[in-house]
Amino acid sequence: MFIINCPFCGERDQSEFKAGGEAHIERPKQPTELSDDEWAEYLFMRKNIKGVQFERWNHAHGCRKWFNMVRDTSNDEIKLIYKMGENPPIE
């Protein structure tokens, strides 16, 4: 069980949080103009990397805020946490 440093509340046990899948997949602004394939790409396709992955997390049993996390899925090391709307680190 990891310890997650919520950008609003500080360090808390993982049990207070909910994972929300891959980060930085923006909902298309004009869905109606997308082809079936393009919409399916947004709707279904996720990377699920073994290694460094950008993820969304929610402090569900706390401040209920969503934020982003860079996590190495091979060893659960959390490399970085940043707020929604902030740019992902380059690299």
């Binding site: 909902r27 298309p28 997308l34 079936d36 805020k65 969503w66 060893n75 659960d76 929604m84 709307g85």
Partner: protein, 1001 residues
Amino acid sequence: MSNNLRVKSSNYIDETTIVSFKFNGKNYHGYKGDTLASALLANNVHLVGRSFKYHRPRGIMTSGSEEPNAIVQVGNNAAITEPNVRATEVEIYDGLEATSQNCWPSVNFDIGGINNLLSPFLPAGFYYKTFMWPASFWKKYEYFIRHSAGLGKSPTKPDTDIYDHKYIHCDVLVIGAGISGIMAAKIAAKNNLKTLLLEEKTQIGGSTIYQNSEKFKIDNKNSSEWLINEINEIKKLDNLQIKTRTSVAAYHGYNYLLARENLTDHLSPSEKKGKIRQRLLKIRAKKVIVATGSLERPLIFNNNDRPGIMLSSAVKKYADHYGVICGKNNIFFTNNDSAYESAISLHKKGIKVQAIIDIRENSKSSLVEEATNLGIKIYWSHTVVDTVGYKKINKISLKKLSNDGQSTTGSKINISCDCLGVSGGWTPAVHLFTQSGGKLKFRDKDQVFIPNKYPSKQISIGSCNGDFSLNDIIKNCLNSLKKFLEIENIEYENLDIINPIETEKRNIWLLPSDKVIGKTKPFVDYQNDATAKDIKLALREGFRSIEHVKRYTTTGMGTDQGKLGNMHALGIVADTTGVKMSELGTTTFRPPYTPLTFGTIVGRNVGEYFDIFRKTPMNNWHLNNKAEFENVGQWKRAWYYPVNNETIYEAVQRESLAARESAGILDASTLGKIDIQGSDASEFLNRVYTNAWSKLGIGKCRYGLMLNEDGMVYDDGVTTRLSENHYIMTTTTGGAANVLGKLEDYLQTEWPELDVYLTSVTDHFATASICGPNSKKILNKLIPELDLSDENFPHMSFKEARIGKIKCRVMRISFTGEHSYEINVQANYGESLWEHCMEAGKEFNITPYGTETMHLLRAEKGFIIVGQDTDGTMTPIDLQMDWIVSKKKYDFIGKRSLYRSDTIREDRKQLVGLLTENPKEILEEGAQIVSDLSKKPFEMLGHVTSSYFSPNLKKSIALAVVRGGKKMMGKKLFIPMEGRTINVTIVDPIFLDKENKRLNA
């Protein structure tokens, strides 16, 4: 006591306190401080169990949690009996009852022993190979396999013991209180670190504490004497908490560990009464020091499993720690110097050691010299090729080992004995380290896996780190602690340590016999009866991965998880396939390290505390009026209110009729309620619901359908506009939390520009829903000043009012199709509101109805229930709810998905109504629907989702999802049931009052 095989002078056994216990129905005596194993051995009982597959007699092999054979059933009470308990860990108390497992009728005469004779026919993978054909026979095979499988008996009654959970946070956690753990704990605690020291055994001190050899000295004191001083000192430290009988079960990431603290298992029934049995410690440590020690390896030779064959260190511990003589005529069999320590210690206590058989050519250790001087006969370069004695060893045969160690030469020597202590060297206990994600490396020198890469702030010290000599243990431990704890000056810096210099061991994973391997039984996994032969067979049959070999042969899959034999299994695979051990890797070590009872895992969360029950403010009234309840999410909802011993069917028929004929009342408090405010609230609703919201007038209500982004129906409910920028949304009872989460997600991550605030107010309001032709009259009695005319208060509108002094929100909305009102009050007035309604409705025979009647009434109207008529694969179009999907809105959640190639298919499952040919026949929910009975297997078109007998229509009605159902109106279909077929016709899903006349009645 007829048999009391004891030597005097054990510090750890209280010979003045006699403890009586029962084993296999027979009375025995031991002393306070004995384990079940030591007490049995003192009574000359070696045979304690039967092996799993061949039912071979098995005895006590070890003195700790790694025990594979001596697993027993403790207690004969159907509520608190426990299977698979290691006799080596059970502390005896007055009244203890234990029995052998896996034998019938008794451990001495076990019918299953015939499997031993059949063993040539029971090779690895026997079950896979034998029970495959013919496929139709599986049912018969399964019956017998299930009856012969499993160890021990489960309790048949609920556990009456009390268990507990506790969170602990510390700076430093030290696991294992042997010499290195004790030193580490002292150093940490003395440097102002909050330290926790855990030890699975009863006492701290590890094996050094009973080390009586003069050859191990620290600061000119015997090592045990020095350690006892240290123990006395650490007990005084404020910063240090020591817990014994506490076994770490799991080491997870981020230094989160689970440990089981055994509080009362060692007490007599009267002493443990009312006390907590075990406590699960949930530990979060800033730093972890693993000092779990090492486990002695057995040697793998022919018939190495007989009772009386034990680990050499166990023989020593039973003598030195418990004062118990395992055998009167001992032989040791070894590949390293440790067995000599045991032999010398026994000899000095006056216990006969006949010989030591050493597979090495020689050893220059001072221990060997001492043994020789004591006159113990040593057979160098010899190996045991066979053992004799069915229920206890009585003889061994040995032969000279060839130079390459792969065969034997010369003539066979037979020696009689009653105990054979074996030592194959030591295996670092790296289980917890690897559980935490640590990576191992293989050290060729002594063939051990040792910690290499640490995944968190932790170190391994002592013999679990591969340091085996006293000097290495202490020196390396100090060096690593200094760095790990960031301490400059460390005590013990200039300790003077003396220990015998070890001579390298000679490692042979599988020792040769004078017979061909096919005729031998060299056990690798004692508990699961996996032999070296089975492993070789698996390799011949093409298994290569060690994980596959493990599963095929079941090596390491017993309750002991192969703590003794796993290394040998790896070694035999490596030798046979020519792969290096370092490349082969190990199988995965998984928690728990030793078995945990379910009671410990659940702690106090049992019975009514297993999951939270949510109750509405009217709950007491429902209880007092004999309601039956059903669980909806975490809610307890009134299901129906039986009167005069009515069945559920009778009650629901009566309630349903009453609601349509006069008046009914439902507790609707559980519906999710979300308060939505902000200048963009209307826009927000536009985006989350399929229909349009901008033009909804203040004081008006609207039904909304919410989709997932994939276009499937997710939730539904009525939302009311309270003022310009203020709405209250209702959700399904079970979906409330998820809907709020989803809305928050969109607001925070996709549309942060919207000025909208969401608050869950489900628990803030109590809701009574009054329906039926007399509901208007009842509400008029409750709130006479409110104008209930259709002009002032039409269907789908809202009013604020007061019942007496209580403020309430009244919505004229309907889920039954009747004229009806939902009255919401502050939650703490809920019961009072309900009573007022009952009082006002008395003259109209107002009838409380539960969820079952609600379901029936809405089904008559063809209203869906999300989660009953939908299952996450239904679009609004599938539900024939096209009318609620806005064509004008540019976007809403899920809109784009409604015209994906898959969602526009015309042969999707669609919601329809069903009528049975026989109007009295009630369909089963979930029943499958087919159109062609001649073609088998039947092609299933869909299934029944809701089904009731409608008392208002006096016929059976059902909702169903049927492939292409929309275009099948009037079509006759079939529902095949066991032994008969029901004929049905597809109809419109609205069965009653299509024109909605009753809403305004």
